[in-house]
Amino acid sequence: MDGISLELTSPRLIELDSEDSGESSRLRQQQPALFASYSDLRRLRYDYPLVLVEDDGGSARVQSLTDVVNALVRQVVPAGTQGKAFRWQLLYLEQTVRELVAAGTEGRLSRLWRKAEAELIKAADKADREALVKNLDLARETLETDGEVIDCDDKTPARFLVHAWNTIQAGKAKAFRKRIDGLILKLSDILKSDFTKSDKARSPEILKSAVGDTFDTDFDFDAMSRVLVEGSHADMLSPERRRRIEAVLMVLQSQRFYGPGRASGRWVEDVEPYTFVFDNCADAMDAFRDRLPQMVDFIEAVSIAELEIENKYRPELHDPFFQRLDESELTADDLALFPSYLVCLRDGESDAVETVRALEAIASGFPVKVLIQTDDILGDSSPEPPRASFAGGSARLAAMALGVNNAYVFQTASASLFRLQERVLKGMLYEGPALFSVYSGATKTVSGISPYLLSAAATESRTFPSFTYDPAAGPDWASRFDIRDNPQVESTWASHVLTYEDEALQRSSEAVAFTHIDFAICDSRFEKHWVPTSRSKWMDTMISASDLLAREGNGAASVVPYVWTIDGDGCLRRTVVDDRLLNSARRCAETWRSLQELGGIDNSHARCQLEAARAEWEQERQRLSGAAEVAEAVAAAPAIAESPVAAPAEETAPAPDSGVDAAEARAPDEPYIETARCTTCNECTQINNKMFVYNENKQAYIADPDAGSYRQIVEAAESCQVSIIHPGKPRNPDEPNLAELIERAEPFN
């Protein structure tokens, strides 16, 4: 408990509470103020609902309903005012489908579309119906996308992941069948051609059936058979080879890993293909171990078949090899032939011991894809992330899985699943184990906030940050680990503009940080840790929680930390929070900070190195300038050589207010602006208003070159109307695409 002690804060809360007690029931329904614009999601066009598009080509994607409708509008609706009514009708259908799904209706898009159409026709005037029906028919015929429609709820992560897994498996199955069917057909051809050389194939009956009935009186088939049989049998298959081919065919045709193809999978009728989706890791691992012998057999059969087709099988060479073959010889390519295992776990429902098993399964390296769905990030009694729950507040299991090093790890919240579906597919395609940690947003103790909004808030508040660890992306952390899917990834908390109506009924706005506290107050379990206050009770000592958290040491017992909230009536309030919430936000920020470091943002190792290099440079510079002074004294030269100014090129003219001295004092690779030539056109400040700031003359200068990325400096230089921004050299060596940026910066330096 550094800073404010509980003894000090608790009475303060009670005192404020008693003042407000008259309206306490209403005050209990507080939401973060930044939620104000999202109170009714059904009225908004956003990612959800999603359409799980089916396509056995393996290229199917999840599509947003909004995108589907947009594409449809582009296809069928005439441009301009002509298509106004039609466009409106299609948007109405989208709206209705969204409402249906939000009300719990499940089904495929085509079915929901029909329902929405019926509603629209019912609501339309009789006179307009004919044109309306014509429009709807055209739209329906053009609409090619179909599949299950899902909203953002507690089932979303599992359905999304299973769909992605199915998509990948369908692609795999297609390639698998093509290959195995090819082998079977070629092996059968070998057997068939051998048969045509046998005595049986040359018997009069077979010969007769080959010619058909039309000419049977013209031929003497007995004589023909006699002549043919007397020929040489020297190139018949050896019985050993024939047996081998038949055995291989048997194995290939009776495989149970994929459903039946044209030639494969002809097993006995009551034997089902294997299942690969499990709800616990133990079953999945058992199944994998049980099937290992079959997998070895199958790989053996495939290898033999390939040798046989080319007639390269040498028994003296290959027999001992295939006798020795066991599961330890299976290569990654071999394993990639079979479907991967999918395990869907759910925090709170699955057995707690599963956490250990899941880690074990991932560490064992077998191709299992584990989904861990978290419904509750915060603990029961404390707003701090619980230690016991395996989901963990800030990426506990996913963070642990990072240590496995060869596993694909992806964490995100439901709200971002659609946007980040490429990452999900990448994980499914990854040849090794993969862990997907997804927060569903369907926390039972939160009421009045949709899972979509809550899950988005979890990412926004750094409580459940998104990250990806992809071992296939490269050899080092810089290429493997990625946290750029988080909002405003450079800062501790994401900051947004809150616009509200002030006392004088005027529009007012303020930048508000969205912290872990904003997320925690949504949860009814933590009501005792906060108290909303109305405008009349606001005090000068109040300070926003994010400002207090940003202070070093936080050691001010005299201030009252608050966050902005709105109540059920949309009234803005300052909600005072206690130490527990502050401490938990502090811990959350620490976890986020360590993730940032891993992601290469303000990395402490890099910073140390940079400081060392800078100190060295500074020393060198002082040494040089010292030498110059000595030289000057010796030569008694009156003037210091002027800094070289490239004659007409205006870009190189130094800033007049800072003068030549400033130009000399400036490090050679540092970015700078010729402030006196700035035309206040807002290009750079719109790119980053912390890095580029106006001075007292309202002309821009670089206030803090580390407040943003090198990319932003380069983009600002490119968009500057009078080309006065000079980007210098990058300051963060870990920034992606540096080579390209340096090239782009060259003309401005």
Binding site: T679, T680, C681
Partner: protein
């Protein structure tokens, strides 16, 4: 009367104005990159440096992108009818000569629909500072040719290219009797823009400043040649005109020493086509202002009204013995 004491109190709470005190609550709606921003900044710097009280300053405009400027100043403003900024400004100056009057207008607003008012405003020579934002296009209504659009410009009203040579606002202004101050500035040279605006403000009379203004949206490359090649800009310097900082002087080496009193040379410079003259072309502080010629007998500023009232009240005042016959505050 206790007027002197109140004045003291007022002076006590007088504040030092900073640029932000002249900024209104509305953030500028101009496109990012627009040259109008530079003009706004120059004006705000002027107000700050001259410490103009916002309540004593009026910005009058017509219609157009340029004419949105009064919204962004924390001062009095009058967003008038298209082309009618000058009559409104003249009315204000006539009735309240104590106010600082600024007119912001554009090439369409001033030289097309408002051309008649413009000519007569020059002739009336009332004390006001006029900034004509010349981007050579109608930007607010999305790209129609204006009177200053270059010949051949394809726009929404001239799809085959503009047929006529553009109007030259400098030569027109210099040709009107009673002209007293004409200058040209460019938004991409903020130092001289600020210098010219300051001198225009300090000139008593109708100071006409044409500001060449980039429109990144509809005329994106019109002034590129001038922005990139400083030798195409001819800076007019003189001890009575612009004083350049060493850096500006080093960058813009194409300079001419031009006496702002020389009307004939001013007309020649104004007619240059290959180069852009920047600086003060003409200044004559001897030309009388219309508001002075027609000064009425009625007191028309708060200060005058108070003086007259005080004089009347003083006739009935009984002074304490130790303070006989105090003069009234003015």
């Amino acid at each position: 009367m206790h007027a002197p004491r109140t004045e003291c109190l007022l002076n006590l709470i007088d504040q030092e104005y900073a640029i932000r005190d002249y900024q209104s609550d509305i953030p500028p709606r101009w496109c990012t990159g627009c040259g109008d921003n530079a003009i706004l900044t120059a004006i705000q710097r002027l107000c700050r440096d001259e410490q103009l009280p916002p309540e004593k300053t009026v910005f009058v405009s017509g219609i157009g992108c340029s004419s949105r400027l009064p919204h962004y100043m924390n001062a009095y403003g009058f967003h008038g009818l298209h082309g009618r900024a000058f009559p409104v400004a003249e009315g204000i100056k006539m009735r309240r000569p104590d106010l600082h009057v600024f007119v912001t207008t554009g090439d369409g607003d001033c030289c097309s629909i408002g051309a008649a008012h413009w000519i007569h405003a020059i002739r009336y020579n009332m004390d006001m500072t006029v900034l004509m934002h010349d981007n050579q296009i109608y930007g607010l209504t999305k790209m129609q040719a204006s009177p200053t659009s270059p010949r051949g410009l394809r726009s929404n009203t001239t799809p085959r290219g503009a047929y006529l040579e553009p109007l030259n606002p400098l030569t027109v202004t210099l040709g009107v009797p009673n002209v007293s101050f004409v200058a040209q500035a460019a938004d991409w040279i903020p130092e001289t823009l600020f210098d010219i605006v300051s001198q225009a403000y300090r000139h008593k009379g109708f100071s006409f400043v044409r500001v060449l203004q980039r429109c990144p949206e509809f005329m994106p490359h019109r002034f590129d040649a001038f922005v990139q090649d400083p030798s195409l800009t001819r800076l007019l310097v003189h001890q009575k005109g612009l004083t350049l900082t060493p850096d500006t002087s080093r960058t813009y080496r194409n300079q001419e020493i031009h006496d702002p009193g020389d009307l004939n040379r001013a007309r020649e410079i104004a007619s240059l086509t290959e180069e852009v003259p920047v600086g003060i072309l003409y200044r004559n502080s001897e030309v009388p202002c219309y508001e002075d010629l027609r000064e009425g007998e009625r007191p028309n500023t708060p200060g005058l009204i108070r003086t007259v009232l005080d004089e009347e009240f003083d006739k009935f005042t009984i002074w304490p013995e130790d303070q006989p016959d105090q003069p009234a505050a003015s």
